[in-house]
């Protein structure tokens, strides 16, 4: 639609001009006609007055029947060119004198009429009775042309026409100027509207144009364009966001209309199906990416949905087969959703090539199976070696003791039966044999206990180590009441663990401390716990013989001892036992010490223990 650039202006000017012209013409006509009638009346009046005066002047001539005098009186009319003719009639109605004197008698009415006046064509005619002392002596007839009236009208009309033309000119100038104040804002508005429409330029604003309707229109226009601009921006942003989502999505995103035609085909889909967006959009989706075998069910599924609104494939994760341009098929995971909008439905599918995933899953499954097989094999191996170990310790338990018993028993028999044949040296040697035998028996027992520890099942529960410590300390003091040992056991050392195993561990640690302080006149044994790096570190500290830190790593090796048997008795199994128990509780065990300055054993226990 073309903008009505000039019509409004023209219409405005035309309206103003028409209005003012009509008004002027009417006014002019009224003025002229009013003047015409006024002037005519005054003409009549003047002629009547003149007739009256002439009549008065003619009485003498009439009285004396002197027509020359009368003609003389009438000739005075010569001064007025508009006077066409005059006639004086006598008492009996005979023509007495005329003006002009030589005028033919046919130019006048034959008989006088009653006093009065009338227009006869372009002439004004007046009859006047001439009276003398109340007696009618004659009648005067005056005839005047309307030259003055015509002149008057001509002049007046000219003035009116001139004034009208001048007024119309002024009105035109004024209207041209006035239309500007009305039409200009409207035209500006029109211009702006055209720019919005043609150029889609929503930054256009018009200047405020006062507080009239046009002003209101401008303001409203600005508001509307601003609103549109806002929406346009939002729309653009949304579109850009959608575009970038589509472009950067790792999944193929394909939109299909209700006829099965592709409406959108993002770059990931291009890559996946080896098809360009240009060739895809508008094509039938089924022919594009669905394998021939599945096309029919796709078509019928779509038809079914359009008919019933029911679809099994919507809003679910589906694993399907798709086909590339070259006809090769591959597995995909698809989620199809209906786009919420008015009108016929659109469907968007999010498609992921799961070739790799399926391969990885297969691989993982295979690895798991392998692993399981290996675990089964290892478990079997482990069980076998456990069985062997068990058989070994069983055999040790049964068979290793018997020869020792024989050695000890027969040494004793020798001492009993042949004592008189043995000298003191011999007896002492036999005592050494027996002592060594007993020690070996102890070693075997300890070793079996250690092996036993690793096999027994753990039943974790709440254990009060403080109470346990006090209990063991009491039994130690009871066994050797003459020793001066001060126990300092922190209260509230509660943990989770196997009570039986923890008792063995604690017993070993306290017994150890008790043993290695035995050469002091008085000793101090301390049990407590310190928080360190978020875990609780328990300790058992003594001020006994201590040890050289250089040998610290040997402390927990089974049967490894840092002291001579003659100094402190023992098989070297105690701390190995403690370590095994702490390990089974998921904790660590370590020691600090110095020769003759005591030793401290530290350990941690993990929450609930572990095997």
């Amino acid at each position: 639609m073309k903008a009505p650039r000039t019509t409004l202006r023209r219409k405005l000017v035309r309206a103003i001009m028409l209005t003012s012209t009509v008004a002027l013409v009417l006014t002019g006509a009224v003025l002229v006609s009013h003047d015409f009638y006024t002037f005519r009346r005054s003409l009549v009046h003047a002629l009547v007055t003149r007739a009256t005066m002439l009549g008065a002047n003619s009485t003498a001539a009439l009285a004396f029947q002197n027509s020359d005098d009368a003609t003389q009186v009438l000739s005075a009319l010569r001064a007025d060119p508009s006077m066409v003719g005059a006639a004086l009639y006598d008492e009996r109605g005979r023509l007495f004198a005329t003006y002009p004197a030589d005028a033919p008698p046919g130019a006048f009415p034959r008989a006088p009429e009653q006093t009065g006046e009338r227009f006869e064509g372009a002439r004004l005619v007046v009859f006047r009775a001439v009276s003398e002392d109340g007696r009618r002596v004659g009648t005067l007839y005056l005839q005047s042309d309307l030259r003055a009236l015509e002149e008057r009208i001509r002049v007046n009309a000219a003035v009116v026409v001139f004034a009208m033309l001048a007024s119309i000119g002024v009105a035109f100038v004024l209207s041209t100027w006035l239309q500007r104040s009305i039409a200009q804002p409207v035209l500006t508005l029109t211009d702006a509207a055209r720019r919005v429409r043609d150029d889609r330029d929503y930054t256009v604003r018009v200047a405020e144009a006062g507080d009239d309707e046009v002003g209101f229109l401008s303001t409203t226009f600005n508001d509307m364009v601003a609103e549109i601009q806002g929406r346009e921006t939002a729309l653009r942003t949304a579109a850009a966001r959608l575009r970038s989502t589509l472009d950067s999505a790792l999944d193929g995103i394909v939109t299909m209309d209700h006829e099965g035609n592709v409406a959108e085909f993002n770059p990931a889909a291009e890559k996946m199906f080896h098809r360009t967006r240009e060739e895809a959009v508008g094509a039938k989706l089924a022919d594009l990416i669905i394998p021939a075998a599945l096309r029919e069910s796709h078509r019928s599924g779509l038809a079914h949905y359009l008919e019933t609104g029911k679809a099994e494939v919507l809003d679910r994760r589906l694993e399907l087969t798709a086909v590339r341009r070259d006809g090769s098929e591959f597995p995909v995971e698809v989620a199809i959703t209906r786009v919420t909008q008015e009108g016929p439905p659109l469907f968007t599918g999010f498609i992921r090539d799961i070739t790799e995933r399926l391969r990885a899953e297969r691989e993982i499954r295979q690895l798991n199976e392998d692993l399981e097989r290996r675990v089964v094999a290892r478990t079997a191996e482990l069980e076998a070696s456990n069985r062997e170990l068990e058989a070994f310790s069983y055999s040790v338990s049964h068979d290793l003791r018997a020869p020792l018993r024989a050695i000890d028993g027969f040494s004793k028999a020798l001492l009993d039966d042949c004592s008189e044949r043995l000298d003191d040296d011999g007896k002492r040697h036999l005592d050494r044999v027996r002592s060594a035998t007993r020690q070996m028996a102890q070693l075997i027992d300890d070793m079996l206990k250690l092996a036993h520890l690793s096999r027994t099942e753990m039943t974790p529960q709440r254990v009060d180590l403080s109470a346990l410590g006090r209990d063991i300390a009491a039994s130690l003091q009871q066994a050797q009441p003459d020793r001066a040992v001060r126990f300092e056991i922190a209260p509230g050392l509660v943990t989770e663990g196997d009570p039986h195993l923890l008792r063995i561990a604690f017993d070993n640690l306290l017994r150890n401390a008790w043993k290695f302080t035995s050469r002091r006149p008085s000793a101090h044994i301390e049990v407590g716990a310190d928080p360190s790096n978020g875990e609780r570190v328990y300790f058992v500290r003594d001020d006994g013989a201590g040890f050289d830190m250089a040998h610290a790593q040997l402390l927990f090796t089974p049967f490894q001892r840092l002291h001579r048997q003659s100094e402190f008795e023992g098989t070297g199994i105690g701390l190995a036992t403690v370590q095994r128990i702490i390990q089974r509780h998921g904790g660590r065990l370590w020691a600090k010490g110095a020769v003759d300055h005591g030793a401290t054993f530290y350990f941690t226990l993990s929450e609930g223990g572990s095997s």
Partner: protein, 151 residues
């Protein structure tokens, strides 16, 4: 009631001699029959094979049974003794080197009357044997003699 005998099932000659020595040391003079494997122990108890001539009436006052026995092991011997009418009530004391839980359990599950671990130390061993003798020979009242079938 004939003299109270003790049946000692022990394959180790050293242990056998030490046991006998310990019993003698404490003046236990009862007859002590020794068998050296499980089969022989069963033959003795059921009066068959080499012991066919033995009278089934002579039920030992107590059987001291080692676990590690050749041919038929001690626990198997115990099981068979307990499943047979004739020997079900014979007191059986397991006398062994093993203190393994599973041996203890197996012994008691098969109704052993007692389980004694042989100490290595002869003094302790002798003490244990003495106590056994005192208890089973003097204190304990055995079940009434069974009436063997066919007699």
């Amino acid at each position: 009631m004939s003299e109270k005998t003790i049946l000692l099932a022990e394959d180790n000659p050293d242990d056998e001699e030490l046991t006998l020595r310990a019993l003698r040391k404490y003046n236990i003079t009862n007859q002590i029959d020794v068998v050296r494997d499980g089969q022989e122990a069963l033959d003795y108890l059921f009066c068959r094979g080499a012991y066919a001539s033995r009278s089934p009436k002579d039920v030992p006052q107590v059987v001291l049974l080692d676990i590690n026995l050749p041919k038929v092991n001690g626990l198997e011997v115990l099981k068979r003794v307990r499943t047979d009418e004739r020997t079900r009530t014979v007191p059986v004391v397991i006398l062994t080197s093993s203190a393994e839980d599973r041996d203890l359990l197996a012994a008691y599950n098969n109704y052993a009357n007692s389980y004694v671990c042989k100490p290595v130390d002869f003094d302790q061993f002798a003490e244990a044997v003495r106590n056994l003798g005192l208890y089973w020979l003097l204190l304990n009242q055995p079940a009434p003699r069974p009436q063997p079938a066919g007699r």
